[in-house]
């Protein structure tokens, strides 16, 4: 197997979210949410705290409803493994403004770093490719992360990226847990009304 780099997850996410402008972000539950919050809370970020496996589908619905804005799903290998069918569903709709990033450390980090399927060789990018994603990539270096950020904003096509990160733990940075509040503030930022 190819040697995998161990990028720092916080540095990766900070790079992806810099100068984010009109970017909409959905985070899968667990560490990707802490990473996104650590990079700076934002009205256009939706943090999921339940429904493991729903990050991709939530991002898909958002991308279909907001085709003029780039949408980034930030999730982990564990969360993505629980919703792999959603890759097939997203591939059929193929919104050009949707990018899914799996921060892959080969472990279930929130529950004690048990090895996940990707540690044994399951390739999430390979699955996305087999589903028909027009662009998939596996990233091991920060320069490629910076290029991916530009691609996200360009809305070139539906894309999936595995970013190989290390297992180093960071202090938890917990985003707000009030789902109604975070929903309403995101909608307000898009000019949408509450009930």
């Amino acid at each position: 197997m190819m040697a995998k780099a161990s990028l720092d997850r916080r540095a990766v996410v900070a790079e992806l979210l810099q100068d984010r402008d009109d970017l909409l972000v959905v985070t899968g539950l667990g560490s990707p949410s802490w990473d996104a919050y650590a990079a700076g809370d934002h009205d256009l970020t939706y943090y999921l705290w339940a429904g493991m496996g729903s990050a991709t589908t939530t991002g898909l619905g958002l991308a279909l409803a907001q085709p003029k804005r780039p949408v980034l799903v930030l999730t982990g290998d564990g969360e993505m493994l629980m919703g792999m069918g959603a890759l097939a569903t997203a591939a059929l709709k193929a919104p050009e403004n949707l990018t899914i990033v799996a921060l892959d450390n080969g472990a279930f980090g929130e529950t004690g770093n048990q090895a996940s399927h990707t540690a044994a060789g399951v390739s999430l990018a390979g699955i996305a490719r087999a589903c028909g994603f027009p662009y998939t990539t596996e990233i091991d270096g920060m320069a490629e992360v910076a290029r991916l950020r530009l691609r996200v904003h360009a809305r070139t096509s539906l894309a999936f990226a595995t970013i190989h990160i290390g297992k180093a733990e960071h202090p938890k940075a917990l985003p707000p847990r009030d789902g109604v509040h975070v929903k309403n503030r995101l909608r307000a930022a898009l000019g949408l009304q509450t009930i």
């Binding site: 909409l24 959905v26 939706y46 999921l48 705290w49 339940a50 429904g51 493991m52 496996g53 729903s54 990050a55 991709t56 589908t57 939530t58 991002g59 898909l60 619905g61 958002l62 991308a63 279909l64 409803a65 907001q66 919703g83 069918g85 959603a86 097939a88 569903t89 059929l92 709709k93 789902g179 109604v180 929903k183 995101l186 909608r187 898009l190 949408l192 009930i195």
Partner: protein, 172 residues
């Protein structure tokens, strides 16, 4: 052979409610409605690999300002249980139209456990439920459920009974 008229009335309700996203796992009872959604350029139908995907999709659509509906079979309600926590925690319009199996005149006993638990499971997760067993009940129940979902961000399920849908034919 012309099918029953109630699927067309559901479609009219969805149109009137400005529903754009039609997320579905195919079911014979919903076949006509799925066909109508695909034929309508104003609608965005999405076939799912499993029903709970539709809950995330409708949450995302709502975040982005669009309305949707989830079409599923009663067995698929079982697949949705954990993901229904999204509705309880976020509060967004969640309209579910459930075609029933495992009740009246069911041939396949393996369908019965989930069919009998469907309404209880929905209620246990905070979803409001109504049952339609007669064709004339379908339109008012769906229209009322859509009102409560879209005006009140409620989770609303209309169960379309097996008597309404008819016996599944097991011989071709």
């Amino acid at each position: 052979m012309a099918g029953p008229a109630w699927p067309d009335r559901i479609y009219a309700c969805l149109e009137a409610a400005r529903v754009r996203h039609v997320a579905y796992v195919p079911d014979a009872g919903h076949a006509r409605l799925i066909e109508l959604a695909h034929a309508d350029p104003q609608m965005c139908p999405t076939v799912l690999t499993t029903e709970e995907e539709g809950i995330g999709l409708l949450l995302g659509a709502h975040l982005g300002g669009e309305r949707g509906v989830l079409l599923l079979q009663s067995s698929g309600v079982g697949n949705c249980i954990n993901t229904l926590a999204l509705h309880a925690s976020v509060r967004f319009p969640l309209l579910m139209l459930v075609t029933m199996r495992g009740e009246w005149a069911e041939f396949n006993p393996w369908q019965v456990p989930m069919g009998q638990a469907t309404e209880k499971v929905l209620q246990a997760m905070g979803v409001l439920t109504w049952r339609a067993d007669q064709a004339e009940d379908v339109e008012p129940l769906v229209a009322g459920a859509a009102d409560m979902a879209f005006n009140g961000e409620a989770a609303c399920a209309v169960l379309l009974g097996q008597r309404l849908i008819g016996r599944k034919q097991w011989v071709k």
